[in-house]
């Protein structure tokens, strides 16, 4: 979109599709996006992006007799992000309640145990130990504050997870070193095999 040699089509694009491209980005962006960063990635001028954002806000609010959506576009902390519209808090809370039982599932507990003993550990490494996809479980644990993103590997971009103080206090210990040892299994599995019987 950097080139300006194109014809009519080009002129039409920013007007018609900018809003759609914006809402595409906003649907998947986790953090509030500044106008500048939106403009940069769309290759569009900031004023045009500002206008489009304003039109989207009005669109979702149903200003011109349209539908008022169950979500809204809000500016928070210097950026724009899609949030649930306030009127639907109740509905969403009910949903969250049914999705978050007061007890962790067995799968979540086992994943937490793997992270506790192997931290810091990437999601891929957890998955290969657990032999299942752990994405949603990791999100649950993050949401519960039991684990946190320790660091991101510079090369692979893989996020590594570690346990938090919340877990320590739940377990009634002061540091992760106080966890009971579960070796020799932890070494690499090849040791202690002879004694297994």
């Amino acid at each position: 979109m950097a080139e300006t040699t194109e014809t009519d089509e080009r002129v039409a694009l920013p007007v018609i599709n900018l809003e759609r491209a914006l809402e595409a980005i906003l649907m998947i962006a986790d953090d509030p996006q500044s106008l500048v960063s939106l403009a940069t990635s769309l290759g569009a001028p900031v004023p045009a992006v500002r206008q489009s954002v304003e039109r989207l806000v009005a669109d979702y609010d149903g200003v011109d007799g349209g539908v008022q959506r169950g979500f809204e576009l809000r500016e928070v902390g210097g950026g724009w992000r899609i949030y649930v519209r306030g009127e639907y808090d109740e509905v969403v809370r009910d949903f969250v309640l049914t999705q978050n039982p007061t007890k962790l599932s067995q799968a979540a507990l086992e994943t937490l145990a793997v992270i506790a003993y192997k931290q810091p550990i990437s999601r891929g490494a957890i998955a290969s130990i657990r032999a299942v996809n752990v994405d949603s479980v990791v999100r649950t644990l993050l949401g519960r504050g039991l684990i946190t993103e320790a660091f991101t590997d510079g090369e692979t971009g893989a996020i590594h997870y570690a346990t938090t103080e919340v877990l320590l206090s739940q377990l009634g210990i002061n540091s992760i070193e106080e966890l009971p040892k579960v070796s020799p299994l932890l070494d690499d599995g090849s040791e202690g095999f002879d004694d297994a019987r």
Binding site: R93, V96, A113, I129, A131, L142, G143, G189
Partner: protein, 294 residues
């Protein structure tokens, strides 16, 4: 299970029988051409079926009686190149297929008898089974393209997957935590235990396992300071076959180590074992039966 219904089964799947019968399929391509055109490394092939399929594709033909002979020749020729030790393991995967193909080729070369004897039927069955498995393999291979395509397309799609807004997160019900640190450790032990190793399961063949070393230690303790003992006495009261076998192997091992000697007056007669070793240390026991480990 697929059995031979008729020798013509394969040709119902054949795309153009006329081409398969064409003379060029018969001629083993001129020597030079073959050598140059068919130099492949094992890594190109996933397995024997893969190789077979590619050979068939290379000749743009289906396997009929005639072309089978050509393909068999090349398949065997290819196998001959798999001699290095590291490839030996993989090469074994090809052997069954190679043997079947060879059988079929030989049958094709021999004059056809009028009567169908049991061997012919067996051969037909083998061929149909091979072809059926090849067809099945080809079907899976073909559908792979769909899998690859779908995975590729879907990997480019983006789904809304965002952190739960803080206000909802705060409203999630308080976690009910009941695990002690020890419970948690036990859970970790389970979760981290090495997954069952991918080996052919033999456990059902000889469970429970008996240690030859333990049996040897027992035999030593019985013989070392006493009079000769018969094997019957040594296994008195043992009702597990595995233990008897292990104890016998232990005795053989001790014999090999020149620790004991046998006496048997007649074939299948009473076996008497006596202690012969001048010196004996517990270390000798440690290395005993090592051949049977692993």
């Amino acid at each position: 299970m697929l059995t031979a219904s008729s020798p013509g089964n394969w040709s119902t799947v054949a795309q153009s029988p006329s081409e398969a019968e064409a003379p060029h399929a018969l001629q083993p391509e001129a020597g030079g051409n073959e050598a140059a055109g068919f130099s492949v490394s094992l890594s190109n092939f996933n397995g024997p079926f893969d190789l077979l399929l590619s050979l068939i594709a290379k000749h743009e033909m289906d396997i009929t009686e005639i072309s089978l002979s050509v393909v068999t020749g090349e398949f065997i020729a290819y196998l001959k190149e798999l001699e290095s030790v590291e490839e030996l393991d993989k090469a074994t995967e090809f052997l069954v297929v190679a043997a079947t193909l060879l059988d079929l080729k030989v049958a094709g070369l021999l004059p056809q008898g009028e009567l169908v004897d049991a061997e012919d039927v067996a051969l037909l069955e083998a061929r149909d089974l091979l072809f059926a498995r090849l067809l099945q393999y080809r079907a899976f291979k073909e559908v792979c393209a769909w899998f690859a395509g779908s995975l590729e397309i879907e990997s480019r799609r983006h789904v809304r997957q965002v952190r739960l807004e803080e206000k909802y997160r705060r409203q999630t019900p308080e976690l009910v935590w009941t695990l002690s640190a020890d419970d948690f450790a036990a859970l970790a032990a389970v979760a981290l235990a090495p997954r069952e190793l991918p080996v052919v399961g033999l456990d059902h063949l000889h469970a429970p396992l008996v240690s030859i070393r333990e049996q040897a230690a027992l035999v030593v303790s019985l013989l070392r300071h006493g009079a000769p003992v018969t094997f019957r006495q040594l296994i008195a009261g043992v009702d597990q076959k595995g233990v008897v076998v292990a104890r016998f192997i232990a005795i053989l091992e001790l014999y090999r180590g020149a620790v004991v000697a046998f006496e048997q007056l007649e074939p299948l007669g009473e076996l008497t074992i006596r202690w012969t070793a001048g010196h004996w240390s517990e270390e000798s026991l440690a290395s005993l039966g090592a051949d049977y480990d692993g």
